[in-house]
């Protein structure tokens, strides 16, 4: 186990380096630059700005400088948001997104696992059909549609919930619904199919033949086997969800990290693009390792090498 984790950490460093390098060069291939937009500024001022942030140097030197800095934990200053370091932006915005995203993932798990299991147990009955329709809708309907529909009916027409900001618990309701809709639907479908598979297994018949009660069979013998595909899905999904959704954050005016991604790309805020990308990549990698370890705990047949 220890050896495995060490190996994964080494592998993670290589992966993150690859992601960073690719992002760095691809980003610089995109036309435009951080100081080109807005009002036209004098060539001298522009040259001064570029010199200040080191953008006048050749690409290879900039790459080396950035990587050396990143290795020392210095991700530089934001090119567009004066006086803020990339780290300070991430550490300010990430908790906001993480809170909304974390709650959404929790909701998705709490709803998706039982509903998917029920659909499998009631296969072909009305409950199954209803759950399948909801699941299909959840996967097919894009989040901006859900956001606007929620906002229009619940927020504006009925006036039940606030439509923007994150001041109180009430503010969280609509963003969480919008964010958790897709993962809930996805988990329901995963859970339904894996549960159906497990229910047909011979060991379920053994459990019944032992005289165990239905609930015990379901919770002890079926659930643990059926949950594996959900574990696989939830890891990376959690990483993506807690780093914020641009659409949902934009519509509900949530000051989260999702918005920063897009702002950084649109504004060619090179350092912030790098910072957020490396941050997301790291999270995804960490989640994958966590998934592997959880997998091992759930299913003893899996060997971590």
């Amino acid at each position: 186990m220890f050896k495995y984790i060490v190996k994964r950490i080494l592998l993670a460093v290589v992966t993150i380096w690859a992601v960073a390098t690719l992002t760095f060069f691809l980003m610089n291939l995109v036309p435009g630059g951080p100081f080109l937009s807005e009002k036209a500024i004098s060539p001298q001022a522009q040259a001064a700005l570029e010199a200040k942030y080191g953008l006048d140097k050749p690409m290879s030197e900039r790459y080396l400088n950035y990587m050396t800095g990143a290795l020392h934990g210095d991700f530089g200053d934001s090119l567009k948001q004066r006086g803020r370091t990339v780290m300070s932006i991430i550490s300010m915005k990430f908790p906001v997104s993480a809170r909304v995203g974390g709650i959404s993932v929790l909701v998705a798990l709490v709803l998706g696992i039982p509903l998917g299991s029920v659909a499998a147990l009631k296969r072909g009955k009305p409950a199954d059909s209803i759950i399948s329709v909801i699941a299909t809708c959840g996967i097919a309907v894009p989040s901006f549609v859900i956001c606007t529909v929620l906002m229009y009916f619940v927020g504006v027409k009925l006036g039940l919930l606030p439509t923007m900001g994150l001041e109180s618990a009430k503010h969280y309701v609509m963003p969480v619904i919008a964010l958790s809709f897709y993962p809930t639907a996805y988990i329901m479908r995963l859970m339904r199919s894996s549960m159906l598979d497990v229910l047909g297994q011979d060991y379920m018949r053994t459990a019944r033949a032992k005289g165990l009660a239905g609930g015990k069979i379901l919770f002890k013998h079926a659930l643990r086997n059926a949950i594996l595909p959900v574990v696989t899905y939830v890891g990376p999904m959690l990483a993506y969800t807690i780093t914020g959704s641009f659409v949902v954050e934009k519509i509900f005016v949530i000051p989260g990290l999702g918005g920063e991604f897009i702002k950084a790309i649109n504004g060619r805020d090179y350092t912030l693009i790098m910072g957020t990308t490396i941050f997301l990549a790291t999270l995804v990698i960490v989640m994958n390792v966590v998934v592997d370890i959880v997998y091992k705990l759930v299913d003893p047949r899996i060997k971590l090498k």
């Binding site: 005289g211 165990l212 003893p300």
Partner: protein, 333 residues
């Protein structure tokens, strides 16, 4: 009652599939005394397993019991509630399944899966249950039981796993053990070991066994009585001697002809039973075996034959036998 441990009378059971009703069991009757071994033989889909499972209330969806009485050890199984029948399962009746590779839950240890059934049906403490599990593993001939208890199914071989299944089945000292093709999925050498173990344990614990198989060799060596099933009916029933030395039904005769023998001459071919099994969705009006029967008469295709008895135990369902017996009866007069 009382006399028989198992007394199934005229059981009728159907599966209501989208394609139509499949009459899986038609007037099936079996009787078994304590400590007896009954073999049920027949080809796939003939209703062997369905008969046994229904005795435990384990009929799979969409199967439905339509008639008959199922007596077991003083219970009338078909009238029991799910809760009552759960007390019998794993306790008074246990079962061993065909495929030991998939019959154990892969995510729990052997110990967990054995103690589970002990703790369910007895009020032993965790420690006592563990001790009992260790004893059981020893009983079924598994070495280093202490170590095995902590292992997972994937760490054991097929033969070992089947021994574990037997340990689970015997955990509460059942009155009846149902063995559903317990050796089909095993290597030939392991098969013999498992059968030997079962017979040994039967003598030790005095339980009755229903042995479901399509291997006549297995029943010949183990069983006192044999029921031959075809298309959801018991078409011949008798002692092992009756079936092997005096088979009456054409199907049984065919089965016995198709066993390879040591004294077969070179170049002599085995005699297979021609034709294909019955389409259970559209069974023929008469005897289900008639379309494959060499000796079929006109009536065989039209009407289901009645029961012809020979002595106390032995009976068949065959027009040919009926005719012979009637002729015999007539010549006596």
């Amino acid at each position: 009652m009382g006399e028989y441990l198992v007394d199934v009378k005229n059981e009728r059971l159907s599966f209501f599939t989208p394609a139509g009703e499949v009459k899986a069991l038609n007037d099936v009757s079996i009787r078994l005394k304590e400590g007896e071994v009954l073999g049920i033989v027949g080809e796939s889909g003939s209703g062997k397993s369905v008969t046994a499972y229904s005795l435990m209330g384990l009929t799979a969806h969409p199967g439905k019991l339509l008639g008959g009485e199922l007596h077991f050890n003083g219970h009338q199984v078909e009238t029991l509630s799910e809760k009552e029948i759960r007390k019998i399962r794993g306790n008074e009746i246990s079962i061993i399944f065909q495929d030991p590779m998939t019959s154990l839950n892969p995510v729990y240890t052997i110990g967990n899966q054995i103690t589970e059934v002990i703790r369910l049906h007895t009020d032993k403490t965790k420690q006592q249950a563990k001790e009992r599990a260790r004893e059981l593993l020893e009983l079924v001939g598994i070495n280093e039981p202490e170590k095995r208890l902590k292992q997972y199914p994937h760490e054991l071989s097929g033969g070992m796993r089947q021994r574990v299944m037997i340990a689970i089945a015997l955990a509460c000292e059942p009155k009846l053990l149902i063995a559903d093709e317990p050796t089909t999925a095993l290597d030939v050498t392991i098969q013999a070991q498992i059968l030997e173990l079962m017979m040994e344990l039967k003598d030790k614990l005095g339980m009755a066994i229903i042995m479901i198989t399509h291997d006549l060799g297995v029943v010949a060596s183990m069983c006192e009585r044999i029921a031959v099933m075809y298309a959801g009916r018991i078409i011949e029933y008798g002692t092992t001697d009756d079936i092997f030395y005096h088979p009456k039904h054409e199907y049984t005769k065919g089965l016995i002809r198709s066993i390879p023998r040591l004294d077969t001459k070179e170049h002599e071919r085995l005699v297979p039973i021609e034709g294909t099994p019955v389409d259970m969705l559209n069974p023929p009006a008469g005897c289900p075996f008639a379309p494959r029967c060499d000796a079929a008469m006109r009536i065989c295709l039209r009407e289901m034959p009645p029961v012809t008895t020979f002595g106390d135990v032995h009976y068949t369902q065959c027009w040919l036998n009926q005719k012979e017996e009637m002729e015999k009866g007539a010549s006596h007069e």
